[in-house]
């Protein structure tokens, strides 16, 4: 029998606000040490009252607009109670009864995925176990950082659809400035079941909690599919509705600790927070502040002369297109900028194993300016780029120190050519004996002699002339 996957996603995304959801503490991004960004409100001290961060509401509404949701113009906050040391007040403020956005859709390939709701809630803190003293320590920096939870309908039918959706969501959220979606700041709970193809009844569901890597999510879904189908067909186990966790080392899911009784969160409306009314005027303001979509950006780049494939790559990533827009605005030639970002910068990022574009737009702009003006060679430019990525050096100072200067006179080039010929008698003999390839080694020695300076075409021309004398 053929089986069909049925998947629903709950995606938690940290909002890009300057402060926490109900107090003026900076987010954990601003923290250096544990419990740096903590005040009596977000650490659950008695006496404090929550005051809602308006920007968080606006960002959640933006997310709703992007996902074609209906915006609830009357929305409320509720309390969810449970005891855990990372939750200092023993309740989380969330939206249970009247979430801010409902009933949206996202196109994933040919299919439409329904969005049940988007609600705003505060994050919990972090527990750190100290093995040395066998104690648990709490860090409240993340406590009360605003999140939205985007709850999809059980509309996904494959792990590929899930990943396509998540990538699309991530790029859209970054674009609209709703979330940075940094490593770990986008977390998913995956609800998954299988059923015989062509049937409507939902199977027994398992929920895989708290995953952030797309590749791991895909593997976890594939694993669960096999587990569910085996359980049904080969009776390998009795499926029960449960929460599970994905073990990245063992490459399989495990049931999470089952409490004796099901958790009862005892939701009720938060009496300290008045209902939020998003009137037509405010909604119109939020709508007006929506940025261009990735598609719109891509089209703009094509019009600037960027090849459509490159334009699409640039436009799909907020940090790449942010860098591109800034450097182009500094007067650099768009195609040149695209090439530097997509080829040289991305190669540096792969080399260093980082996900951030670790360079100030001003510095990238200056490197491109020097190369395009013929002040330094592209090879030298790449070296400067590497030095900026690794040590954030000053571009002009570094060029001076390294003696990078593409405009060397012919006399200096000729001297380097002669020195290279003298130093490589074997290669010279090979070349003269008809091995054209040997030229490369002598040319390389020449460029080293010139410290990467000089116009390679001029160097090559002088070199062949000298050898053929």
């Amino acid at each position: 029998m053929k089986y069909e996957l049925v998947i629903g996603l709950e995606t938690h995304v940290e909002l890009s606000t300057d402060s926490k959801l109900f107090c003026s503490c900076g987010g954990h991004a601003a923290a250096n040490e544990p419990n740096d960004c903590v005040c009596p409100a977000c650490s659950g001290m008695p006496g404090m009252l929550p005051v809602t961060n308006k920007h968080a509401i606006e960002l959640a509404v933006k997310a709703g607009l992007m996902l074609n949701c209906k915006i609830n113009q009357y929305t409320t906050f509720d309390k969810k109670s449970y005891y855990y040391p990372d939750l200092p007040a023993a309740y989380q403020i969330t939206q249970w009864f009247n979430p801010v956005c409902v009933e949206g859709t996202v196109e994933v390939g040919e299919r439409k995925i329904g969005i049940k709701q988007i609600h705003i809630e505060e994050d919990a803190g972090k527990l750190v176990h100290d093995d040395a003293t066998n104690t648990s320590l709490v860090d409240y920096n993340r406590t009360s950082v605003p999140l939205i939870e985007i709850v999809s309908k059980p509309d996904f039918r494959s792990s590929d659809e899930v990943i396509t959706y998540l990538k699309k969501l991530k790029s859209a959220l970054q674009f609209a400035g709703i979330s940075e979606c940094e490593e770990g700041a986008m977390r998913c709970d995956v609800n998954i079941s299988v059923r015989p193809e062509g049937t409507d009844k939902l199977g027994v569901r398992s929920e895989i909690k708290n995953m952030s890597s797309f590749a791991e999510i895909k593997d976890a879904i594939e694993f669960e599919k096999v587990r569910h189908v085996d359980a049904i067909e080969r009776r390998t186990e009795m499926l029960v509705q449960e929460t599970r966790r994905w073990d990245e080392v063992k490459r399989r899911t495990f049931p999470m600790r089952n409490k004796e009784t099901a958790a009862d969160y005892r939701y009720f409306p938060d009496p300290n927070l008045m209902p939020i009314i998003i009137d037509d005027e405010w909604l119109a303001e939020i709508k007006a502040s929506m940025p261009a979509t990735a598609e719109e950006k891509g089209q703009k780049y094509v019009a600037m002369g960027i090849a459509s494939k490159e334009a699409a790559v640039l436009a799909s990533d907020a940090k790449l297109c942010g860098m591109f827009d800034e450097v182009v605005a500094m007067g650099r030639e768009p195609r040149s900028v695209a090439s530097w970002i997509l080829t040289e910068c991305m190669s540096r990022m792969r080399y260093l194993g980082i996900e951030t574009l670790n360079i100030a737009p001003q510095k990238l702009s200056r490197i491109i300016e020097l190369v395009d003006a013929g002040e330094i060679t592209r090879a030298a430019g790449k070296k400067v780029l590497a030095a900026v990525f690794e040590n954030d050096v000053d571009v002009d100072k570094y060029c001076d120190e390294q003696g990078f200067n593409a405009k060397v006179d012919e006399g200096a080039v000729l001297a380097a050519v002669k020195a290279a010929i003298a130093a490589n008698p074997a290669a010279v003999a090979d070349y003269k004996g008809g091995k054209e390839k040997a030229l490369g080694a002598i040319f390389g020695a020449c460029m080293r002699e010139l410290k990467g300076n000089g116009d390679p075409a001029v160097v090559r021309e002088l070199l062949t002339k000298e050898l053929n004398k």
């Binding site: 009596p40 001290m45 006496g47 005892r266």
Partner: protein, 389 residues
């Protein structure tokens, strides 16, 4: 002389109850749970009295978390603030009216307490229990003095999300004459009081009549329903607010625990008193799955009906006259009876608590009025006090 839990300044003129935070001064809320808790900031009301030039005398005892006059783990000094006011040690006291305790204390001690309209005095800086109903009020020897201090602490505060902008427009020093006013005497509540309390209500009614006001006896429908609904809301919110006291961050921690669950259970079992535990159990139940719709949600609907019913009454009457406490003298009872005793007594205080309407206790009687009519109630209390003097 009544004692302070913590004395701040011998010459101070304002006492503050122990559920109200004063920076660097211990705040126990009458609970062993918070016996070592020192707050990092002061309540907005405290900041305002200090800014107006008053000085704090000290922190006064409350029943645990202010749930009642009396709580076994606090100092058994019931009516502490009201007795200090009565003996003239201080000009006034700030008290949190969570479930009517300061109103009861004022009635028993024969002083004045004003519970202002909900949202007119910032709740920032009180050890919260029932956020949707509790209010800081003022205990003073007479209504004029209470009004003077109330005018200082009232007003909009952006730190409290339920604070009302209209709070800035109330005239607390109203001298509205009783003449021509219509006052409704609540029959069921009158009947529920003892003879001494009835006599005080009779005396108040006589004073108003003599001053040219009209007294009409009315029946207040659904009082029991209102009281139950309020008890549900109050207990549920208290349960939720007290869950932060778990022995992890501050306050009492048991010495006997091997894991986090034992730490929670041990700390809370050892540090909370009987009434608090009973309230927490009741409050957990009314919020639990399967019970929410029938209990908490229904209580919210009854609250709305109560607001409608009282608002309708206040279209006809200027104030409701009723007791604040069933007896003229306080009788101690075994702690095991605390929850039902408090429930029985809150029938007098629940209408103003659940609706957030203002209430003034003076000369042993309680007056309840429409939203923002605090000044009118204060003027009516002044009329009684004039008669007494």
């Amino acid at each position: 002389m009544a004692k302070y839990i913590t004395e701040i300044n011998k010459n101070g003129n304002i006492a503050v109850d122990d559920t109200i935070l004063v920076k660097d001064i211990p705040a126990t809320a009458g609970s062993k749970m918070l016996e070592n808790f020192v707050p990092l900031f002061s309540a907005e009301a405290v900041e305002r009295v200090l800014a107006a030039g008053y000085t704090l005398s000290g922190k006064t005892a409350v029943g645990e978390f202010g749930l009642d006059l009396y709580g076994e783990t606090g100092i058994n000094d019931i009516c502490a603030a009201a007795s200090l006011v009565k003996e003239g040690s201080v000009k006034a006291a700030l008290n949190v009216d969570l479930n009517g305790a300061p109103r009861r204390a004022a009635a028993l001690e024969g002083v004045t307490f004003v519970k202002p309209t909900y949202g007119t005095v910032s709740r920032y800086g009180i050890i919260a229990a029932a956020c949707s109903g509790e209010q800081i009020g003022v205990t003073a020897k007479n209504a004029a003095t209470a009004a003077e201090v109330l005018a200082v602490i009232a007003g909009y505060d952006e730190k409290d999300g339920t604070s009302l902008k209209d709070a800035n427009n109330i005239d607390y020093n109203s001298e509205a004459p009783a003449k021509g006013m219509k006052i409704a005497l609540v029959r069921e509540l009158y009947a529920a009081a003892d003879a001494a309390v009835k006599a005080k209500i009779d005396a108040a009614a006589a004073t108003y009549k003599a001053a040219g006001a009209e007294i009409e006896e009315i029946s207040l429908q659904n009082l029991a329903e209102i009281n139950t609904a309020w008890t549900i809301l109050m207990s549920a919110e208290t349960t939720n607010n007290l869950s932060r006291f778990d022995g992890v961050k501050y306050g009492y921690r048991t010495e006997k625990y091997k894991n986090i669950d034992e730490l929670y259970v041990g700390s809370r079992t050892e540090a909370f008193g009987f009434l608090t535990k009973a309230t927490i159990i009741y409050g957990s139940d009314v919020l639990s799955k399967g019970r929410y719709e029938d209990c908490y949600d229904k209580a919210l609907r009854i609250r709305r009906k109560a607001v409608e019913a009282l608002t309708e009454l206040f279209a006809k009457y200027d104030a409701l006259l009723m007791p604040a406490f069933s007896k003229a003298e306080y009788e101690f009872y075994p702690v095991e009876n605390a929850f039902s005793k408090v429930y029985e007594e809150s029938i007098f205080t629940a209408p103003a608590s659940i609706t957030g309407m203002p209430a003034v206790v003076s000369s042993g009687v309680q007056l309840v009025g429409d939203y923002f009519c605090d000044g009118k109630l204060i003027a009516l209390a002044k009329a009684l006090e004039k008669e007494e003097a």
